[in-house]
């Protein structure tokens, strides 16, 4: 599958934006600038970008508590997101949602979601709407290896098959649900087979390789868009940080994180691939890096100066009409 150069640069830009956004958020949390619970996506950038590069604004995604990457990849305004994390009333969600509820419905982002496997049923609804309307939009739910043991995930997968709707279940296996290994929490040996037993194809990809995710997601999305019902994508890739910022990560094996960062870095791997094929030069990628760093600097600067919400905003936007 040949990818046009413009799209390659865009994919790299998105992955780099996610990386720098997350690393900067981590630093600002340590500086005491960002409140609440935050779950970072660093290391898994290729999953979000490999999927979202196939989508339009009319397609929807729904995300997880580890949602910054998905939202950025689907086109959320990065500065608005940073303001939201800082709790500003000028944030994407007016400071009402924060890290776990970043959303932009106009861009097809039905929200990050603080409930594990809260998203898949909602995504089935978005897919059902597409089917009833007779358009060819698809609905993607991102969820993790923890979500596959939730009843809502099973319900959504079965219902998507029964209703034959264009729902794509992207399962990101980062090997840990909170502090517990997938080896413990998933009772069967073959999660792919267990998922396919619901009655739809699952495409597996190395989540450190943008090109592998892009290809797998392309097959799944094509399957769903063509009216063949749901499909799944399994992307396997560890996260570089803990479950949440501040997690001591006592569950990690010796050298595990070093190996992860060394061998399984989607950005490094992307650069290596480009060096090999010559499709995009190192200088061009360096230029993207500089652009992204400037954008993140600007986002943090603006977020720090952005207006703070006032007490009367507490009760606003509970309803559309209050009668």
């Amino acid at each position: 599958m040949a990818i046009p150069k413009e799209k390659l640069l865009q994919a790299y830009r998105m992955m780099k934006t996610i990386r720098e956004f997350e690393e900067r958020v981590n630093a600002e949390i340590m500086n005491g600038q960002i409140a609440g619970f935050t779950h970072l996506y660093t290391g898994q950038e290729a999953n979000a970008v490999g999927v979202c590069e196939h989508l339009t604004d009319a397609d929807t995604i729904i995300s997880t508590h580890r949602g910054h990457g998905h939202c950025i990849a689907k086109g959320a305004d990065v500065i608005g997101m940073m303001k939201e994390l800082f709790g500003s009333s000028a944030g994407l969600c007016k400071g009402k949602g924060g890290s776990m509820h970043v959303a932009d419905v106009d861009k097809g982002i039905l929200g990050a979601n603080g409930i594990v496997a809260g998203g898949p049923p909602i995504s089935v609804g978005s897919a059902l709407a597409a089917k009833i309307r007779g358009d060819n939009h698809v609905a993607v739910s991102f969820s993790g290896d923890g979500s596959v043991n939730q009843g809502t995930c099973f319900e959504a997968m079965n219902m998507a098959v029964v209703l034959n709707v264009p729902a794509i279940f992207v399962i990101e296996n980062n090997y840990y649900s909170e502090h517990t290994s997938i080896n413990y929490a998933v009772g069967c040996d073959d999660l792919k087979a267990r998922t396919e037993a619901f009655g739809f194809p699952v495409f597996v990809a190395d989540g450190s390789d943008f090109f592998a995710v892009y290809e797998a997601a392309g097959k799944a999305i094509e399957h769903a868009r063509a009216g063949n019902g749901p499909a799944g994508v399994f992307a396997e890739q560890g996260r570089y940080h803990g479950h949440f910022v501040g997690d001591p990560q006592s569950y990690r094996g010796e050298g595990e994180l070093d190996e992860l960062r060394e061998k399984y870095d989607p950005l490094k791997n992307f650069r290596a691939k480009m060096a090999e094929t010559g499709e995009v030069s190192g200088e061009e990628l360096d230029a993207v890096d500089a652009e992204v760093l400037a954008l993140i600097d600007q986002a943090v600067e603006e977020a720090k100066a952005a207006p703070r919400p006032t007490a009367e905003e507490v009760t606003q936007d509970v309803y559309i009409n209050y009668a």
């Binding site: 929807t60 419905v105 049923p121 089935v124 059902l128 009409n321 009668a323």
Partner: protein, 333 residues
Amino acid sequence: MPEKTMRDAINEALHQAMTEDDSVFVIGEDVAGCQGAEGETGSVGGVFGVTGGIYNKWPDRCIDTPISESAIVGAAAGAALVGMRPVAEIMFADFIGVCMDQIINQMGKFRYMFGGKSKCPAVIRFASGGGFSAAGQHSQAMYQVMTSFPGLKVVIPSNAYDAKGLMLTAIQDDDPVLFFEPKVLYQETAEVPDEMYTIPFGEANFVREGDDVTVVAFGQMVPKAAAAIDALADEGISCDLIDPRTSSPLDTGAILESVEATGRLVVVDEAPPRCGLTADIAGLAADKAFKSLKGPIKQVCAPHSPTPFAPELEAAYIPDAGKITAAIKETLA
């Protein structure tokens, strides 16, 4: 004006809304019925018959589902987020227990968490309350629990006329609405116009008007309270009977105005007492109309126990006209 049952009144509202607006669809277990079976698809129309005839007219907008309540609510919420107007059926209100997250953490909070930049015009229907000896898992009111969650609107019709008008309002409303149909009233009739009409949320109905006591009642308690009040007329006692029709939003103005005029309040609901609507409204009056009160606020509700099975036990459990009469007399004593 034609007499219709509450079941038929709601069914008519659904048919009319679906005729008028292509974005309205129904979804739930057996809303059509017989899918994949030898019987005629669409011949069930919901276990209480409320969605009857919809599949035959709009097979693409009458979505039968597996028994997966979380996925039903989630699908309604997701479709509503992208511009549809789903009316989902969860069957018995007790089944909120298996889809609570999708109702309270998802559809009820999208708009707030997303900074007011989304709308979720979904209606979720429930058959609610006791009266059928359906025991502990098929008899609960549940609306009192859901009233405590901001972001959701909660509707409890007490007659066929209100049910149709409130359902049409619910479907047009841009916020998520939980619609609790007291199942013991499905066969009760009232005069219901054939044409479409709406009844605004947050606007109480004065079922009776009187001077001595304010009685506030919900759902199936409204006809029981009316019977109690009518019988007291012979004794020279007259009461306001207020049916709030929606517990969220609640017409606090109508309740307080009446309490200020009568000085006495009896609140009636079929749910158990703790953290329920009777305590809520009693607290409202104690807070905002204390100086008007001339007698104790009386709460008439079920005891703090699950709903029992045996007909004698259930009759003792659900408040009846006798208990309402006694409470009215106690506050007057």
